[in-house]
C-alpha cells in the first residue's frame, strides 16, 4: 500500500463547519479510507479545542499535530482566515510518530530538545529514522538550543525542519495543536522513518553588501563589538541614523537588512536578525553569532527573494527525485509543505503570492501545497563548517519540504 495524502481547506467562519469541510475535502482527496495521522494548520482566530475536537470527530480521533499562524499559504493564495487539514494514510514501510513537550520556559532549550527527542524515539527503535519536523513557540534563541538538544539524541547531521512560531517581539499568541490539546509554551515533534521519500530545500535570497567586518566580541546571541566598535555602530554607519532613529525603525531595518555570516566555500550567507538594541550598543540576535565570525550587512530585492524560492523548490525537488524509487514514484502521492519567514512578507508585501506560483511551477500546478508563516526556521543547509554540532537557524528563509511522490 503506498503513502496516501489528502488535503482539505476551509474558510468557513465557524470552527466546527470549517473543520468538517476541510476533513471532508481531505478525505475525498484520498484513495485510501484508512487515515493514520492529521496535520492541521489554521489561522489564529480558529485556534480552539473545539476545532481539534471537530476534526477528531470527523477523522476518528487519529493522532494530530499542527499549529496556528498569522497566515496560510495555499495553492489559491495567502489567506488570513481558514483551516488546512492534511490527512495521511501511512504504509507499513514508513513509520511516523509525534510527541510534545510543554513548559519550555521552565527548562533549558537543550534539555527540552533531548526530552522531546527521547519521547519521539520511544516508539521508534526498530525503524531507520529519516527526517524530523518540529513546531515550537519558544523564543527563537531557545529554539536553536532545542534543536541542538534534539540532535544530541537523533544525530548531529539528522535533517530536522523547524518552524519557529514565536517572534521575540511578536504581538500575538501562537497556538500549537497536539491531538485534541491547544498548547502554548511548547514544542511539537514529528519523526519519520522507513522508506519515506522526501526532499528539503531552504534559501533566503539576501546578498552581502559593503566590506567584511569581524565580530570581535560576542556571547551566544549577543554581539557586543564588531571591528572593535560597539555592534550597533555598523547600523549607525550604514543608515546614517542616530540611535533613537534606529531604535524607532529597528524592527524593519533588522528584518530588511540582517547581518550575514560568511561561511567558507558556501555561496549562501547565514542570516541573523537583530531583535533588540542593548543599552551599551550591543545587538541581541535571534540566534548565536560566534566571536571571530566575518559578517556583512545583507540586502535583498523582490527578485532575489523569488530566485531563492525557485532554488529552494528545485533543491527540494532534486532531493525528492534522488531518494525516490521507481515504484514509489508512480504510486505515492506527493505534498509540499512551505515554511516561510514572516520577514520575507515585509519585503515582498503584495507580491508574496508570487512565491506560491514559483513553487507550483517547480512541482507542477496540481501538486497539493500548504504552508505557513513562521518567525524563523531551521533547515539543513549543509553548512557544517560553521556550527559542526548544531542545526542552522535561518532568518528570512523559505524552507520547502516535499513528501511522497
Amino acid at each position: 500500500m503506498p503513502l496516501d495524502i489528502g488535503i482539505g481547506l476551509s474558510t468557513e467562519k465557524d470552527y466546527s463547519l470549517a473543520a468538517k469541510e476541510a476533513v471532508k475535502m481531505a478525505s475525498m482527496d484520498m484513495v485510501s479510507e484508512k487515515v493514520d495521522m492529521a496535520i492541521v494548520f489554521s489561522s489564529r482566530d480558529l485556534a480552539s479545542i473545539g476545532l481539534l475536537k471537530s476534526i477528531a470527530l470527523s477523522t476518528g480521533g487519529v493522532p494530530l499535530i499542527g499549529c496556528s499562524a498569522t497566515a496560510l499559504l495555499t495553492p489559491h493564495g495567502i489567506i488570513k482566515h481558514g483551516v488546512a487539514v492534511v490527512l495521511l494514510s501511512i504504509p507499513e514501510t514508513i513509520q511516523t510518530t509525534i510527541a510534545c513537550i510543554q513548559e519550555l520556559k521552565n527548562k533549558r532549550g537543550s534539555e527540552s530538545g533531548r526530552e522531546l527527542a527521547d519521547r519521539l524515539l520511544a516508539d521508534f527503535k526498530e525503524t531507520r529514522r529519516v527526517m524530523g519536523l518540529v513546531f515550537s513557540d519558544s523564543s527563537t534563541e531557545d529554539a536553536a538550543n532545542l534543536i541542538a538538544g534534539m540532535r544530541e539524541r537523533l544525530g548531529k547531521m539528522f535533517p530536522i525542519l523547524v518552524g519557529s512560531l514565536s517572534g521575540n517581539r511578536q504581538p500575538h499568541r501562537t497556538y500549537l495543536y497536539f491531538n485534541h490539546n491547544v498548547l502554548m509554551d511548547s514544542a511539537l515533534g514529528m519523526l519519520w522513518g522507513g522508506r519515506l521519500n522526501f526532499g528539503m530545500g531552504s534559501c533566503h535570497g539576501w546578498k552581502p553588501l559593503g566590506k567584511p567586518r569581524t565580530v570581535t566580541k560576542s556571547q551566544a546571541n549577543i554581539v557586543e563589538e564588531i571591528d572593535g566598535e560597539y555592534a550597533l555602530k555598523i547600523y549607525e554607519e550604514y543608515f546614517g541614523a542616530s540611535v533613537s532613529e534606529l531604535r524607532k525603525n529597528f524592527r524593519i531595518i533588522s528584518m530588511l537588512y540582517p547581518l550575514g555570516i560568511s561561511i567558507d566555500s558556501e555561496k549562501e550567507y547565514l542570516l541573523r536578525n537583530a531583535v533588540a538594541i542593548e543599552e551599551n550598543g550591543s545587538l541581541r540576535f535571534q540566534a548565536d553569532i560566534k566571536q571571530g565570525s566575518i559578517v556583512k550587512l545583507m540586502l535583498a530585492t523582490k527578485e532575489s527573494c523569488f530566485e531563492a524560492t525557485r532554488r529552494a523548490a528545485e533543491e527540494a525537488k532534486r532531493n525528492l527525485a534522488g531518494l525516490s524509487n521507481e515504484s514509489a514514484k508512480t504510486l505515492n502521492k506527493r505534498i509540499v509543505f512551505v515554511f516561510e519567514s514572516l520577514s520575507r512578507q515585509m519585503l515582498l508585501n503584495k507580491d508574496s503570492a508570487q512565491e506560491i506560483k514559483i513553487i507550483k511551477d517547480a512541482f507542477g500546478p496540481d501538486t497539493p501545497l500548504i504552508g505557513l508563516y513562521t518567525y524563523g526556521g531551521q533547515a539543513p543547509l549543509n553548512l557544517g563548517s560553521y556550527y559542526s554540532d548544531q542545526s542552522h537557524f535561518h532568518n528570512q528563509a523559505i524552507s520547502i519540504l516535499a513528501l511522497g511522490g
Partner: protein
C-alpha cells in the same frame, strides 16, 4: 682564508642587502596595493551605505504605497457597505474587525454625543472586552469637556500628530485604550449628534503614518455622511409617518361622515319614497275626482270651474310625474329597482327613441342627426331604463335648442364600453352650473327654464340609471355654444 671569508661575508651581506632592498621594495609595493585595496574597500563601503540608504527609502515608499493602495481598496469596500445604511446602529455594525485588520489596526470604538443625557454613548467596540469597553466609556465621559473642545477643532488626534490640549494626553489614551499607536478622528455630521472614532493597535511593530491619519479622517467623514443620511431619512420617515397618520385619521373622519351621509341619504330616500307613496294615493283620488268632474258626469260645470279643474288635472299630472321620478330615484338609490340587464342593440333603441323625439324636433324645425359606429357591440342594459336615459337627454336637447337648431347623436365603442354623445346647438350652460347639474331639484338659471316648468329630477334620474348600469355620465358645455352629454355603458362580453 680569513680574507676569503671576509670577501664571502661582504658579498653575502651585499647580496642580502640587495635582497632586503628588493623585499623592502616589494613590501612597499604590497603596502601601496594594500592601501589601494583598503581604499577601494572603503569606497565600496561608502557606496554600499548610499545603496542601503536609498534602498531603505525606496522600501519605505513602496511599503507606504502598498499600504495606501490596500487601505484605499478596503476604505472603498467599507464605504460601500455603510453608505447605503440608514440606521445609526447598522452604520457602526458595518465596521467589521476584518476591515480594521486590513487597515493595520486591531482595536476600535466609537461614541456619539447623547444630548438628552449629556454624555457620550458607545456605538462601536472592536477588540475590547465588555469590561474594557465600559472603562473606556467611563474615561471618555470623565473627559467629555476635553473631547468637545477637541471635536470643535475638527482635526484628528493621533500617536504621531499629538496636538494635545489640556485634557487629551497621548500616553494616557494609549494606556486607557490599551494600544501602542492610535488615531482619533471627529465624527461631524452637518446636524445631529457629533462623535468620536477611535482606531488603534496594540502591536508595537505597527507604525502609524500621516497616510493612516488621512485614511481614518476619510472614514470618519464617511460615517458622518452616513449619519447625516440616516438623520434625514429618519426625519423624512417621521414626517411620512405623521402624514400617513393624519391621512388615516382624516380618512376615518371622512368614512364616519360618509356613513353618516349615507344614513341621512337613506333616511331621505326612505322619506321621499314613503312620502311619494303617501302622495300618490291622494293624488290619484284628486286626479280621479277632477276627471269625473271634467267629464261632467255629475252635472254641467261653469266654464270658469272647468278651466280650474283642467288646471288641477294638469298640475296633478305634473305632480304624479314628479312623484314617479322621485320614487324611481329612491328605488335606484336603495337598490330596490329590479333591472333586467341583458344585451341590447343600441341601433334599435336609438331608432325607437328617435321616432318618439322626431315630432318635437319637427315642431321646432330642429335637425336630428345620428352617427352610429358600424358593428357597434351590444351593451348590457335594461331596455326600459335605457330608453328613459335617451328620452330625457334628447328631450332636454330639444328643450334648450332654439328653432332651426341641430342635435346630433353619436355612438362608438371599444373593447370595454360604448360611449354615447348627445350634442345640441342650444344656449349652453355656465361652468358653475355643470358641477350641480346632476343634483336633484337643480335647475340651471336661464331663460328657457324660466319659461318652461320642470322638476329638476330628470338628469339626476339619468345619472342614477347610468351609474346603476356601471356606466359614467358627464357633460361639456359653454354658454351660447351648446351642450354635449356623454355617457358610457359596458358592452356585452
Amino acid at each position: 682564508m680569513s680574507f676569503l671569508l671576509v670577501i664571502i661575508a661582504v658579498t653575502a651581506a651585499a647580496a642580502m642587502a640587495a635582497i632586503l632592498s628588493i623585499k623592502i621594495e616589494t613590501v612597499k609595493r604590497l603596502q601601496i596595493n594594500l592601501n589601494r585595496l583598503k581604499r577601494s574597500l572603503d569606497e565600496m563601503d561608502e557606496q554600499a551605505k548610499l545603496i542601503v540608504r536609498t534602498d531603505m527609502e525606496l522600501n519605505k515608499v513602496q511599503q507606504e504605497l502598498d499600504k495606501r493602495t490596500a487601505s484605499l481598496a478596503t476604505l472603498q469596500k467599507l464605504s460601500r457597505s455603510i453608505s447605503g445604511v440608514l440606521e445609526v446602529k447598522a452604520i457602526f455594525k458595518g465596521i467589521k474587525a476584518s476591515y480594521l485588520q486590513e487597515f493595520g489596526f486591531d482595536k476600535s470604538c466609537a461614541y456619539l454625543w447623547n444630548e438628552r443625557e449629556g454624555n457620550f454613548l458607545e456605538v462601536l467596540s472592536i477588540g475590547y472586552t465588555e469590561e474594557e469597553a465600559g472603562a473606556i466609556t467611563q474615561y471618555i465621559n470623565s473627559k467629555k469637556h476635553g473631547y468637545w473642545d477637541w471635536l470643535l477643532r475638527e482635526r484628528p488626534f493621533s500617536s504621531i500628530s499629538k496636538q494635545e490640549n489640556k485634557f487629551l494626553k497621548a500616553e494616557e489614551i494609549e494606556s486607557v485604550f490599551k494600544t501602542s499607536s492610535f488615531i482619533i478622528s471627529p465624527i461631524l455630521p452637518a446636524e445631529g449628534s457629533k462623535g468620536i472614532l477611535f482606531v488603534g493597535t496594540a502591536n508595537p511593530e505597527v507604525a502609524i503614518t500621516e497616510g493612516d491619519e488621512e485614511l481614518i479622517t476619510v472614514l470618519a467623514n464617511q460615517i458622518s455622511q452616513s449619519l447625516e443620511n440616516a438623520r434625514l431619512f429618519e426625519k423624512a420617515w417621521t414626517t411620512q409617518q405623521s402624514l400617513e397618520k393624519n391621512v388615516e385619521e382624516r380618512t376615518h373622519e371622512l368614512t364616519v361622515a360618509l356613513n353618516e351621509v349615507r344614513k341621512v341619504s337613506k333616511r331621505k330616500t326612505d322619506f321621499i319614497s314613503s312620502v311619494s307613496h303617501e302622495l300618490r294615493t291622494p293624488l290619484t283620488s284628486v286626479k280621479g275626482y277632477a276627471s269625473i268632474l271634467l267629464e261632467e258626469k255629475l252635472g254641467k260645470l261653469p266654464t270658469a270651474a272647468k278651466e280650474r279643474l283642467e288646471k288641477i288635472n294638469h298640475h296633478s299630472d305634473e305632480l304624479v310625474h314628479m312623484v314617479n321620478d322621485l320614487l324611481d330615484i329612491a328605488r335606484i338609490e336603495s337598490g330596490k329597482t329590479v333591472m333586467k340587464i341583458e344585451g341590447q342593440n343600441l341601433n334599435e333603441i336609438i331608432a325607437t327613441v328617435s321616432d318618439l323625439i322626431m315630432i318635437q324636433c319637427k315642431n321646432k324645425n330642429i335637425e336630428l342627426k345620428t352617427d352610429i359606429q358600424k358593428n357597434l357591440p351590444q351593451v348590457m342594459a335594461d331596455r326600459n331604463q335605457l330608453e328613459r336615459v335617451f328620452i330625457n337627454l334628447l328631450g332636454n336637447a330639444v328643450k334648450f335648442t332654439p328653432e332651426k337648431g341641430k342635435i346630433s347623436l353619436k355612438a362608438k365603442g371599444n373593447d370595454e364600453a360604448v360611449e354615447v354623445a348627445i350634442a345640441d346647438s342650444g344656449i349652453g350652460m355656465p361652468p358653475d352650473a355643470l358641477t350641480h347639474l346632476f343634483e336633484e331639484f337643480y335647475r340651471v338659471d336661464n331663460a328657457v327654464n324660466q319659461q318652461v316648468k320642470g322638476t329638476g329630477l330628470g338628469l339626476s334620474l339619468v345619472k342614477h340609471i347610468v351609474e346603476a348600469h356601471k356606466g359614467k355620465i358627464w357633460v361639456e358645455s359653454a354658454v351660447g355654444r351648446g351642450s354635449t352629454f356623454y355617457f358610457t355603458l359596458p358592452i356585452k362580453q
